[in-house]
């Protein structure tokens, strides 16, 4: 009797999956709060991916997708964010969520709502390294890179330029500490030597003590994980004046037009990296066209990542032949990475068709999606070198 019942349930659910259905996607980002200026463009991009899929009529035998918007408030109120997520899942019955946005609320939604309910979340903008190791039952992905990735990129650049040993200084806050740890760990893992890691405070009167300690420890160059208009500048000036270091590795916080003129010719030959996609890549150009036609700006931060997050969810559904989160969660990495046919923005119909025919795709999207580790974007970084007093982009990673 029990077996019969199970069998019939299985048949019914199989039947339901095969038939066209109305799939709901939650777009859960901070429409109010600190990043409200970014979210209009982010939501528009995600909804454009949905419209593209609906127009093709190819998803899961002609199913249609509709979006449900929810507000996380970004950082102000995690309670509001979890309540919005709760409502989305229990009342609106969304199949998956594009979101959250800021790292703090994203973590709260993941632990309190998404995991208990078994709902997939793909965040377009949470960058905290802590999310890389968070318990997620395989449900959480992000199309934005972790700050820890910048450490990897910095280490790669230094190793490729033949640097063997470095001294590291960081601005004494969460950003500086997290980034310096990432750089130190990555550099050591690649066989480099770190002679000292010393913090510096911003806005202080004098940095000779820090530079003295850094110089005593030595190293071929100094990694300055700070801010270009704060202590980072003071450290570089003092290090150049005393002859302690003549080359510097400059992470994102040190990249800006004001640094080279403030330091002078001593900065020439220093290098670094800053997050940013190559605007001339085919994916970005394709999405820029779509954006122009539909009124969203791809150059607004995390907009391409939002389009890609929504596209990935729908492609994974197609690959798993199910709109149920627990079914398609395992397919997200497959559709995002090689092998398979490369899919760019505007080609979602082609991707859906290949998957329906049992083929394999490698979704590239606008942000050059490549999911690594626990399901997060490898990210795109500009490699910068100071040439003749100008911070020049010399490559992309």
């Amino acid at each position: 009797m029990k077996k019969l019942l199970l069998a019939s349930v299985a048949t019914v659910s199989f039947g339901a999956a095969a038939a066209a259905e109305d799939i709901k996607l939650g777009i859960l980002i901070g429409f109010t709060g600190p990043i409200e200026s970014l979210t209009a463009s982010m939501a528009a991009a995600a909804e454009n991916a949905i419209a593209e899929v609906n127009a093709s009529g190819l998803l899961l035998g002609g199913s249609t997708v509709s979006s449900v918007r929810g507000d996380t408030t970004c950082a102000i109120d995690t309670a509001a964010a979890t309540a919005a997520a709760e409502r989305m899942i229990t009342a609106d019955k969304v199949n998956a969520i594009v979101g959250g946005d800021c790292s703090g609320v994203t973590s709260a939604i993941l632990q309190n709502v998404a995991r208990p309910n078994g709902i997939v979340m793909i965040s377009p903008s949470a960058t905290s390294p802590a999310l890389s190791t968070a318990e997620d039952d395989g449900l959480f992905f992000r199309t934005a890179p972790s700050d820890a990735r910048e450490g990897e990129v910095a280490a790669d650049i230094m190793i490729e330029r033949g640097v063997k040993s470095v001294a590291v200084t960081y601005t004494n806050n969460d950003y500086g500490k997290g980034l310096s740890e990432a750089i130190v760990n990555a550099f050591k893992a690649k066989g480099g030597e770190v002679t000292i890691v010393a913090a510096h405070e911003d806005g202080k009167a004098d940095y000779s003590a820090e530079v003295g300690a850094l110089a005593a420890a030595g190293g071929e160059l100094l990694v300055v994980a700070g801010y270009l208009d704060q202590g980072g500048l003071g450290i570089i000036k003092a290090a150049l004046d005393t002859g302690a270091f003549d080359k510097f590795e400059l992470p994102g916080g040190m990249i800006g037009d004001s640094l080279a003129p403030a330091v002078g010719p001593g900065l020439n030959g220093s290098f670094g990296q800053v997050a940013g996609a190559d605007t001339a890549s085919p994916g970005m150009m394709a999405l820029a066209e779509i954006g122009k036609a539909n009124g969203f700006d791809v150059n607004s931060p995390y907009t391409t990542e939002s389009y890609d997050a929504a596209a990935l969810i729908m492609l994974a559904m197609q690959a798993a032949k199910s709109s149920k989160s627990t079914d398609f969660a395992g397919k997200v990495m497959d559709v995002a990475n090689a092998p398979g046919e490369q899919i760019f923005p505007g080609e979602l119909a082609k991707g859906l068709q290949i998957l329906a025919d049992g083929g394999d795709i490698d979704y590239v999207g606008g942000s050059n999606v490549e999911l690594v580790g626990n399901g997060e974007s490898a990210g795109n970084y500009k490699e910068i070198e100071v040439i003749d007093g100008v911070q020049t982009t010399v490559g992309f990673r």
Binding site: A209, G212, G234, T242, A262
Partner: protein, 336 residues
């Protein structure tokens, strides 16, 4: 050779920067201590007075640079410094007239004057930011180095370099001249003597016919000159940023208190004590000891007593120890 290399490393990273920073603190602390000794309150606006004076100096430096006037190897700012001092003197005399005089006539307690100076600090802060903005300003020109690390190496053939920036040399020399002038002024001139008398016993000074308004005015002018010189030299050596000048107040007060508030000699000693304690206690001795010790004894670790994170803890620990055992500071100033 190894001994020399070690010595040069020590001079380059500890002694020269410490001496320059100490001179900057000493000049600032002198101004604070002068106000405390004669007007009897802790002037919290001193850091921002420094910023005001430096701002005027910078504006005139730019003007002179625009006219093509310069001093060759010396920074143009030296030419603008007297104008900066004059403008700052006018500014502090104005604040005294508008703000402090009222409270002085009321015979207000010194705690009230401290809070009043806090208000003056915020207003000055705002004026400086309104005029020159909140960003870093670079106004140093002329020769950058007396001797640079690279030149020193080729000259002496040593493997360690010694860099002396012209701004550092200028700071130490100017500090010496200013301190000598100040002591001569206080000890030998009639006005200086009346200021000291006023500081020792106000009532007795009044009875012997000293004009209190004149003493107050001269004190303010001297404080303005000290603040502008200290600020100008600091800006030449590092850079000018209103926020940094505001934060300079802490080490300056620490210097003045360690030395003994109200004692000019104490302010100078305090400046060097604070600067050298910040640099030496957190210095990593690995390189120096590597030169000085025989090879088999050379250390692998950094030989750092405390991480640089604690450099502010060091100066404030010294402050607390001094106040515990010598409540009036190293040079018997007034107790707070």
């Amino acid at each position: 050779m190894d001994f020399l290399n070690g010595l040069i490393t020590f001079l380059n990273f500890v002694f020269v920067p410490g001496l320059a920073y100490g001179s900057q603190l000493a000049l600032g602390a002198l101004g604070v201590t002068l106000i405390y000794g004669i007007l009897r309150f802790s002037n919290f606006a001193h850091g921002d007075t420094m910023a005001f004076g430096t701002m005027v100096t910078i504006l005139f430096t730019w003007l002179f640079q625009g006219w093509g006037i310069n001093l060759g190897v010396l920074p143009t700012a030296l030419l603008a410094l007297p104008i900066g001092i004059a403008a700052t003197a006018l500014f502090v005399l104005l604040t005294d007239r508008v703000v402090y005089r009222f409270y002085r006539r009321q015979k207000a307690a010194s705690t009230i004057l401290v809070i009043v100076s806090l208000g003056v600090m915020f207003v000055t802060n705002g004026i400086v930011r309104l005029i020159i903005g909140v960003d870093d300003q670079n106004f140093a020109d002329g020769g950058r180095f007396v001797i640079s690390a690279g030149d020193f190496k080729t000259m002496t053939g040593l493997s360690e370099g010694l860099a002396i920036k012209s701004s550092q040399a200028l700071t130490v020399i100017t500090a010496l001249i200013v301190v000598a002038f100040l002591f001569w002024f206080l000890q030998k001139t009639r006005t200086g003597k009346s200021m000291r008398a006023f500081s020792d016993n106000e009532d007795l000074a009044l009875l012997s016919g000293i004009n209190p308004d004149r003493v107050v005015q001269v004190t303010w002018i001297l404080a303005a000159a000290l603040a502008t010189i200290a600020g100008g030299l600091y800006g030449l050596d590092k850079s000018f940023k209103p926020y940094t000048y505001y934060l300079l107040l802490l080490p300056i007060f620490a210097s003045a208190i360690v030395g003994g508030l109200g004692s000019p000699l104490g302010a100078i000693a305090g400046g060097y004590v604070i600067a050298f304690s910040e640099v030496t206690v957190t210095y990593a001795w690995k390189k120096v000891l590597g030169y000085w010790l025989p090879e088999n004894l050379a250390p692998d670790s950094l030989v750092q007593l405390l991480s640089t994170d604690y450099k502010f803890a060091v100066s404030f620990t010294i402050l607390i120890i001094v106040l515990l055992f010598l409540p009036t500071g190293l040079f018997k100033g007034k107790s707070v």
